[in-house]
């Protein structure tokens, strides 16, 4: 096996990011072909992902694939709803094997409903939290501005 499942998931995320639909790897007699399907949006835990309210008009979505945890796996999760967060604050993690990728608040704001179960498998674009930015000039549909 060239790559472990977690690595393949990371690779898929990267392919999505750069817009590559298919890739083939060959190494020491084994080969791996990765085809990225059309992105599917997972439904919200408590029903309809689209049923946003005026209070929380945006969605924080996953930017990596793996297993989602609100807060951090080593800390007891505080209820997300109503929590005020700062821009860039890590509000959850996505685990691929032992690696944790951050889910960060795109701006200062308040978290709304949790849209994905703790421990749930998520993919690029899976909605995770409802989010209400504090300032009206805040982000476009919850897509985080890269701070780099």
């Amino acid at each position: 096996m060239i790559l472990e499942p977690a690595e393949i998931m990371s690779l898929v995320a990267h392919m999505r990011r750069v817009g590559v639909a298919e890739i083939e790897l060959e190494e020491a007699g084994s080969a791996l072909r990765v085809v990225v399907p059309e992105q599917a949006i997972a439904p919200a835990v408590d029903g309809t992902a689209a049923a946003t309210t005026v209070a929380a008009p945006y969605v924080i979505a996953a930017e990596a694939c793996g297993f989602f945890q609100p807060g951090h796996p080593a800390r007891a999760a505080a209820p997300a709803r109503g929590r005020r967060v700062e821009a860039g604050e890590v509000v959850g993690t996505i685990a691929a094997g032992p690696l944790l990728r951050p889910v960060a608040a795109p701006a200062a704001g308040t978290l709304g409903r949790l849209l994905c179960a703790a421990g749930g498998r998520v993919d690029h674009g899976t909605p995770l939290f409802e989010f209400a930015p504090h300032s009206p000039s805040s982000p476009d549909s919850g897509k985080r501005k890269d701070t780099r």
């Binding site: 800390r75 890590v90 993690t93 690696l99």
Partner: protein, 334 residues
């Protein structure tokens, strides 16, 4: 470059320790929690033996004098970078002038701070670890103090894919401890291989080793942990000749109260050994605070090997996956 703004004593530079100098009476030394330090280095793509800072006492305040990427692992000590709370076991970019503040841990005992490239201090006998007892290694053989300025080795320039950083699943969640039904929550379970003098102890002592909790006393530090519990007795006490020992050896002095020799422990000793904590579980001791309790579980060589492989797989996978989260950058790191 890191500047130490505030630190209690006993915080010092450590790597994975010295090998090959036992003929001089020099033991391994190095980080007490080798897994946490190795994970910090894995997140940064550092050499696996790069030196970091072992933090045993808090609060600690440091300032980054230049742009860098750092990782903080081990005890969960509510680190804040310029006021923003960091998740535990986390790596993140820091800009010149930013301050990192660490509070006394809410869980665990020792935290590890690593920076991209690793801390630049001279290698002494193959290691950058601070050997405080004999005053060599690390920064002039001593613990860090306010005002110290530490340089990092140049690292390949990179930026983190996610501005919010990246983390490692903490070892306590990633690496399963041995099964021990009688252990209470909060007790640290350690796998132990019987040592040469195990059979010299009476049946009640052998049973007590496995079946009773062992309290970590206040006389516990990097040299060793003195434990309190049932007094362990040998059937027929005989003098031992002095012999080489390794971190993890559970010695039983005549008081019957065991001592686990650890990173800065003696490289030789003359007390009988009832068991040895396996290498793969030594990091758990490093995070067990005085007042907490240890449990010993008998373990075979094969089980020890499996546990050791699990540690290596965890660190190896973490290193590989973290590599995907770093992007080459034009700027120079460190």
């Amino acid at each position: 470059m890191i500047e130490i703004l505030e630190t209690p004593p006993l915080n010092a530079i450590q790597d994975l320790g010295r090998l090959g100098y036992r003929c001089h009476g020099v033991g391994r030394g190095g980080a007490m929690d080798r897994v946490a330090l190795a994970a910090a280095n894995a997140l940064l793509g550092n050499d696996e033996n790069a030196a970091g800072i072992e933090l045993q006492l808090f609060p600690v305040r440091v300032r980054f004098a230049g742009d860098t990427v750092f990782a903080l692992t081990g005890a969960d000590c509510e680190a804040r970078l310029d006021g923003r709370l960091l998740p535990p076991w986390w790596a993140m970019s820091a800009q010149a002038g930013q301050e990192l503040v660490l509070s006394p841990p809410r869980q665990g005992l020792r935290a590890y701070l690593a920076v991209a490239g690793g801390i630049d201090v001279p290698e002494v006998m193959g290691s950058r670890s601070t050997q405080m007892r004999d005053g060599f290694g690390g920064l002039d053989g001593r613990a860090l103090a306010a005002g110290d300025r530490l340089a990092a080795f140049p690292a390949p320039a990179f930026a983190l894919r996610d501005g919010a950083g990246l983390g490692a699943l903490p070892a306590s969640l990633a690496l399963a401890a041995a099964d021990c039904p009688q252990a209470q929550p909060g007790e640290t379970v350690l796998r132990v291989i019987q040592a040469a003098e195990y059979e010299q102890f009476d049946a009640a002592s052998q049973a007590a080793l496995w079946q009773t909790p062992w309290k970590v006393t206040a006389q516990s530090n990097r040299q060793g942990y003195r434990l309190a519990g049932v007094a362990l007795q040998r059937l027929e006490p005989v003098e031992m000749r002095s012999h080489g020992i390794v971190p993890g050896v559970i010695q039983v002095p005549p008081s019957g109260q065991p001592i686990i020799q650890l990173a800065d422990g003696n490289s030789a000793g003359g007390y009988p050994k009832i068991g040895v904590v396996i290498e793969a579980d030594l990091w758990r001791i490093a995070q067990a605070a005085p007042g907490s309790a240890l449990r010993f579980v008998s373990c075979t060589l094969e089980e020890a090997r499996t546990a050791e492989r699990a540690v290596a797989a965890y660190l190896g996978t973490l290193r590989r996956l973290a590599g995907y989260c770093r992007l080459p950058s034009l700027g120079k790191v460190a």
